[in-house]
């Protein structure tokens, strides 16, 4: 089982806060890999919030190909973080040439594009780079999006952090999500490493997705390029969220109804039963069967946690005004926010969605039996 930790804070934090929390929970993962998602960035990225940032791992050759490719389109480098690597990586961590975190200036021709067009282009470029990298095994691309950095690597999270010198000011962020990987039935490939990201939506999951194959078939057949390349059964959770919000125009509360719809009796008693029944039928192939705990982040910087309907994975949310964390285990929460009111800690159950909005003022709990919020 993997271990997950997410924190959202008004004050920018070092990624080490999350990695320390993972380290406290190390009994729950096998140190086979780590994935970090940073958003609402501080430091040098604070002033270039709109510039898309490319995160990935490149060989020297790959980097050259990247540069040619990006320049051909018209992207100019705006800012980059240089990661100076010791010559010999720690045990269990593969040798890499370049860990790239680079913010770009949009091509001039793109100035007139609407935001949706822009976002589609960014996705297209990320997918193109991924394909290019898979062909020659010289690039791995995690995200290409404004105000988002992703770092993934195989190995013990603490060793990786030290190796990459993650405890640096440039990487401070207000939303941090991290996963300590427990390798299960999929071979270690970094594309199978959580968190997953698509067009502003990120999730990471604890557990195994038994309904993966039918869900994958459904997503892949939506005719949307981004729903592809699945290396992990958990990636579909990110894509279902993306589909629910962007394609169906529904809210986070409805996400829970999509992945784990109410059963007949509860549905019958629900004030929105007509809508929910239709939703359940039409989104039937997206129903998950757990056991899963999903922690995710929306483009507006809200962070949330939902559980599957019955099997449930450990998950707790707690904190104080201005800083809240979502953790697989209490000890992780304790390590990150020790001086909080622990009586307010909450462990979401089968009907709950817990989320902390962009204001970071409170944990909002929403029960699946509650009426759905009115459309905005």
């Amino acid at each position: 089982m993997c271990r997950l930790f997410a924190i959202t804070s008004q004050e920018p934090l070092s990624p080490m806060v999350a990695l320390n929390a993972l380290d406290v929970m190390r009994e729950g993962h096998d140190c086979s890999g780590v994935g970090i998602f940073l958003r609402d960035l501080a430091g040098p990225f604070e002033d270039i919030k709109d510039a898309p940032i490319l995160s990935g791992i490149f060989s020297d050759k790959g980097l050259k190909r990247l540069d040619t490719f990006m320049m051909d389109i018209g992207f100019m480098t705006k800012y980059k973080i240089s990661v100076k690597l010791p010559k010999i990586p720690p045990p269990g961590v593969p040798k890499r040439d370049v860990y790239l975190i680079r913010a770009y200036e949009y091509p001039e021709e793109w100035e007139d594009m609407s935001q949706p067009q822009l976002y589609d282009q960014l996705l297209k470029i990320r997918l193109q780079l991924r394909t290019m990298g898979e062909e020659k095994k010289d690039m791995i691309v995690f995200s290409f999006w404004p105000d988002v950095i992703m770092i993934k690597e195989i190995g013990d999270p603490m060793l990786v952090a030290e190796h990459l010198n993650l405890d640096r000011k440039e990487l401070n962020a207000r939303v941090i999500m991290a996963q300590g990987r427990q390798n299960t039935n999929y071979a270690i490939t970094l594309y199978a490493c959580h968190p997953f990201f698509i067009q502003g939506y990120a999730t990471m999951t604890n557990g195994e997705n038994t309904a993966f194959v039918p869900i994958r078939s459904f997503l892949e057949s939506r005719g949307f390029d981004g729903y592809s390349g699945y290396q992990s059964d958990s990636e579909v959770f990110t894509h279902i969220l993306h589909y629910t919000v962007t394609k169906l125009g529904l809210s986070l509360e409805t996400y829970k109804h999509v992945i784990t719809p109410l059963q007949e009796e509860d549905l019958h008693n629900h004030p929105n039963r007509h809508f929910l029944k239709n939703l359940k039928q039409t989104c039937r192939p997206l129903i998950i069967d757990g056991p899963n705990c999903v922690i995710g982040c929306l483009p507006d910087h809200s962070v949330f946690m939902v559980q599957d309907r019955k099997k449930l994975r450990p998950g707790v949310v707690g904190g104080k005004r201005g800083v809240y964390a979502f953790s697989s285990e209490l000890c992780g929460l304790d390590a990150a926010i020790p001086n909080r009111d622990k009586s307010k800690d909450f462990q979401p159950m089968h009907l709950d969605t817990a989320f902390v909005g962009p204001g970071r003022q409170e944990v909002t709990l929403w029960n699946q039996k509650d009426p759905l919020p009115l459309p905005h």
Partner: protein, 544 residues
């Protein structure tokens, strides 16, 4: 030596028949029950002459031979009176003195059954045991990474959808603008397939209907039953139980005059309308109710004269192209019930199923597609159709599902699989395998007759006389002397048993796979088979 009987080309001995009656003189009480019960008069009271040698101890001039006669059972060898192996004689014999046995070699009767140039017609199923379905294994067992569920204690939602499900974007849009959303039924995935009133006896039909009503109203299992092409009794049409019934319309339109006239008086809408274009047991052939079974009641419900053969044409005669045949008919049927009832076609398994499917994907009204594989049963058909025509269900369903996946419509157009599900008794395993190959639900007929009413038929050509109305169990007979043997209440009871045990077995399959929140339609990663070619064909795992 002159033979006792003249030897003609079609003169057969008992040895040449597929079934031989073994009869024990010692045990027989000569009660006559076996000859009375035999549905085809294959046995009769026989007087046998026997020479008995009684050589005296001393040599005398008197003869040592005596002739005696005894009474017993004689098996007829005339092809018209051949034993069908139903073994009703064994069932009624108080002393277990008689039993039909399958011949130890291929029989000779098959070469002579066409007397008068009439090829063999029969009821039943393809006479071929085995099949791929039983070989499919469920290999994705949840273990430590994903604990298996408790089949006995977890909540399960093992329902399926019948009806055209709109894609999410459209469905939500139509909800907003109050557009027409096609009717969708949430039903139990094991459907009682089309068996007509007429093919089945009144007691059998009544028993099934009672069982279905009980399952729905007392056990809250949304089980549905299809009428087949034979209309529907008027009282059922006007009752609240109609909502559990799928009305079938086929090329003979039997009973539809009655149905159409009952529409204004219907208290409930039927569950769905099934348009039958084909049947797995006799693909490309129409329905057939032979004259033996067309009595006054059947004739009245179907709107035909009594005592005549009722062959339905192989196709719907008023239509000639797929656009007309399918699209117009589906639309007309929708219109009849004010667009509140799902309408879907049923075809026989065929290599051209994908052409039909592709047409349906472009028809916004089509509520599903039922495909009936080669192992489907029938009340009457030509033997050659039953044994040699048709397409196996597994690859037909798989191809159809994968085609739907390709166009992204796997949730929009439910596929129902039929034909040979549970033919070897493994109902839940076969049904679950088909669901994981991509079926939304399965239709069963023969299994219901065997489990709920004790049908004697088998893939070894046992009984199979449903066509001539002589069903010794009273399941497919219209003769009151025969169908009185069947107690409708007991049929209902057995049907409930069948569904409850199926439900438990289905849970015992899906729970270890870690599934319970929804039916694992298309979960092909759970399936494996020990044959690489089949694995490749069905796109599942090859396991040894």
């Amino acid at each position: 030596m002159e033979p006792e009987r003249p030897i003609a080309p079609s003169t057969l001995s008992v040895k040449d028949l597929p079934w031989q009656i073994l009869w024990d003189l010692e045990k027989c009480t000569l009660c006559g029950k076996c000859t009375a019960v035999c549905p085809v008069n294959a046995i009769e009271l026989g007087v046998f002459r026997k020479r008995i040698l009684e050589p005296p101890a001393e040599i005398t001039l008197e003869t040592a031979t005596a002739f005696k006669s005894y009474y017993g059972i004689r098996q007829k060898t005339d092809p018209a009176y051949r034993c069908v192996g139903c073994a009703m004689c064994t069932m009624v014999c108080p002393n277990d003195a008689i039993v039909p046995c399958r011949t130890d070699e291929s029989d000779k009767l098959k070469f002579h059954v066409d007397q008068g140039g009439q090829p063999r017609r029969r009821g039943g199923r393809r006479n071929m045991p085995g099949g791929v379905l039983d070989r499919l294994k469920f290999i994705r067992i949840s273990m430590l990474t994903d604990p298996a569920l408790d089949a006995g204690r977890h909540e399960f939602e093992l329902r399926t959808l019948l009806g055209r499900v709109l894609p999410p974007e459209e469905n939500l849009k139509f909800l907003r603008i109050n557009g027409w959303i096609p009717p969708v039924r949430e039903i139990y995935p094991l459907i009682i397939g089309a068996m007509s009133f007429g093919a089945l006896s009144p007691t059998m039909w009544e028993g099934l209907q009672m069982g279905v009503a009980y399952l729905n109203e007392e056990l809250k299992m949304p089980v549905r039953i299809c009428t087949g092409e034979g209309g529907c009794p008027p009282r059922l049409l006007r009752s609240r139980f109609l909502k559990y019934v799928i009305l079938q319309i086929a090329s003979g339109y039997f009973g539809w005059d009655e149905i159409i006239h009952a529409i204004p008086e219907m208290k409930e809408d039927p569950c769905a309308i099934e348009i039958k274009y084909g049947q797995g047991a006799k693909p490309g052939d129409g329905g057939l109710l032979m004259w033996y079974k067309v009595n006054k009641l059947i004739a009245a419900i179907r709107g035909v004269p009594t005592g005549v053969n009722l062959p339905s044409p192989p196709t719907h005669q008023t239509k000639y192209s797929i656009e007309e045949s399918v699209a117009k008919m589906i639309q007309s049927m929708y219109m009849a019930w004010g667009f509140r009832v799902p309408v879907y076609p049923k075809i026989s398994g065929t290599s051209t199923a994908l052409a039909v499917l592709n047409n349906l994907t472009r028809n916004p009204y089509a509520a599903g597609l039922a495909i009936d594989g080669e192992d489907g049963g029938t009340g009457a058909a030509y033997n050659v159709s039953m044994n040699h025509m048709g397409h196996p269900i597994a690859s037909n369903i798989r191809d159809s599902y994968l085609t739907l996946v390709q166009v992204g419509m796997q949730n929009q157009l439910p596929l129902l699989a039929g034909g040979g599900i549970g033919k070897n008794g493994n109902l839940a395993a076969n049904a679950a395998a088909l669901i994981m190959l991509g079926a939304s639900g399965v239709q069963i007929g023969k299994y219901v007759m065997q489990a709920a009413a004790g049908c004697l038929g088998s893939e070894s050509d046992r009984c199979n006389i449903c066509n001539i109305g002589l069903c010794p169990k009273g399941i497919t007979s219209q003769d009151p002397r025969l169908y009185r043997r069947l107690d409708a209440e007991q049929v209902a009871q057995r049907l409930v048993d069948l569904y409850l045990s199926f439900d438990t077995e289905l849970k015992k399959i899906v729970a270890p796979l870690g599934r319970s929140t929804s039916l694992p339609i298309g979960m092909s990663d759970a399936l494996g088979i020990d044959d690489p070619n089949i694995a490749e064909r069905l796109k599942i795992k090859y396991v040894v």
